[in-house]
């Protein structure tokens, strides 16, 4: 109970900070929308739906990257991460709180992105939407850990995409597969497994990322 209370307090604080600063979410919304508009005019009119689903995933991954780049900025300002690390709470609660907050921002971006995609390109069925949700969880789970690692580096903006993009390839495969394959459920199962494995790895390794 105490662990979840810590996670809730940390996630709520992130949402509160974003509501005040409005640094991340508006940028994510604008980015995902403008990317889909660009794709709409860049693709030939007779493009098949399969190609369009691929582009949706390009938009999703880069929107998530935008959010992850900003994820630890409030903690970097004024050295707050040191204060959190010194607190007697389980350090993985800091990671989980950040993951939940980042996921909330990404889901908010999807609320705009998915209807826009349906209008510009093709509708998404229930399997595809579940695929997007599972991939969002995966990218936030891995991305929050990698963003904390990158935040300690001077070249954080360069380092983060180099770390996140290779690890998001399985998510893109699973996400696109769930949208276009006749056996979409198998791809969903693959995404669930990815989320579970990387959630455990990130949860267990966060402590070593934030201590010198």
């Amino acid at each position: 109970m105490t662990y979840m209370a810590d996670v809730t307090a940390l996630a709520r604080k992130d949402l509160q900070v974003e509501l005040r600063a409005r640094d991340t979410l508006p940028a994510m919304l604008l980015f995902v929308l403008s990317t889909l508009v660009v794709f709409r005019f860049a693709l030939p009119a007779d493009t098949e739906d399969e190609a369009a689903y691929g582009l949706l995933w390009v938009a999703i991954v880069f929107t998530a990257l935008l959010g992850l780049t900003r994820a630890w900025v409030p903690e970097q300002e004024h050295g707050v991460l040191d204060g959190l690390v010194l607190a007697p709470c389980d350090r993985s609660a800091i990671w989980l709180g950040k993951t939940i907050a980042t996921l909330t921002f990404l889901l908010a971006a999807q609320v705009v992105a998915l209807p826009a995609f349906a209008i510009f390109f093709a509708p998404l069925d229930a399997t595809a939407i579940v695929g997007v949700l599972l991939a969002d969880i995966g990218i936030c789970v891995v991305g929050s850990l990698l963003a904390a690692m990158a935040a300690a580096s001077r070249a954080r903006e360069l380092l983060l995409p180099l770390l996140v993009l290779p690890l998001s390839i399985p998510l893109v495969i699973g996400g696109v597969g769930s949208a276009i394959s006749a056996e979409g459920e198998r791809f969903l199962l693959f995404l669930v497994l990815y989320d579970a494995v990387f959630a455990v790895l990130s949860w267990a390794s966060f402590e070593y990322v934030v201590t010198e």
């Binding site: 005040r20 050295g79 707050v80 040191d82 690390v85 010194l86 007697p88 201590t211």
Partner: protein, 194 residues
């Protein structure tokens, strides 16, 4: 309570601390002095448990939850108010009767009027006062204070003096300073870093 033996810390190949040894008993005060770049802040981070020595041993017989760490950085969120920041840290430190304790500290450090304003709007001195509130919030047994008087005006420095005087007899303290004269009236051990 704290024993350091030939502690060395490096950043890459560059040694920042070399051969630092000291002992501090419960209730003791260690005043750390030295020029810029002598490793005072690094030593504070080592004692607080935010970093590990490269060589040597450092034993700190205090639980992490009982350490109060004042850094060069205030360790508070710019976009939250003083109350919101202290409430968050109070929850994480399981401070009993949190609201009363926060109110008392804000009153004592002269931040009550500005308690609901965002920290981003605070002056450097007000931010340092808030950092002191955060440090004292959970009534720590070991105080690790890195340049606690920096950015404080005369009134703020007097408040901190009063606080340290109260806590001196019952807490263990390590304090870095460029102005050791300010801490002269407290009997303590000196450690001069080169």
């Amino acid at each position: 309570m704290i024993r350091a033996r030939d502690v060395e810390k490096r950043f890459g190949r560059r040694p920042v601390l070399r051969g630092v040894s000291f002992e501090l008993e419960r209730g003791g005060l260690l005043v750390v002095t030295g020029p810029n770049g002598s490793g005072k802040t690094t030593l504070m981070r080592l004692v607080a448990g935010l970093a590990a020595p490269y060589r040597g041993t450092l034993e700190v017989e205090v639980d992490r939850s009982r350490i109060g760490f004042l850094s060069h950085e205030p360790l508070v969120y710019r976009e939250l108010s003083a109350v919101e920041n202290l409430d968050l840290f109070g929850r994480l430190y399981r401070v009993p009767e949190r609201r009363e304790r926060i109110g008392m500290l804000l009153e004592r450090f002269g931040l009550w009027e500005a308690r609901t304003e965002r920290v981003a709007t605070y002056s450097r001195g007000m931010t340092q006062r808030l950092a002191l509130c955060r440090t004292f919030l959970h009534e720590p047994d070991l105080l690790v204070l890195d340049e606690p008087f920096s950015a404080l005006d005369e009134a703020g420095a007097a408040l901190l003096d009063r606080e340290l005087e109260e806590l001196r007899s019952e807490r263990t303290m390590i304090v870095t300073t460029h102005d050791p004269a300010r801490l002269e009236r407290y009997a303590g051990t000196r450690l001069a870093l080169a």
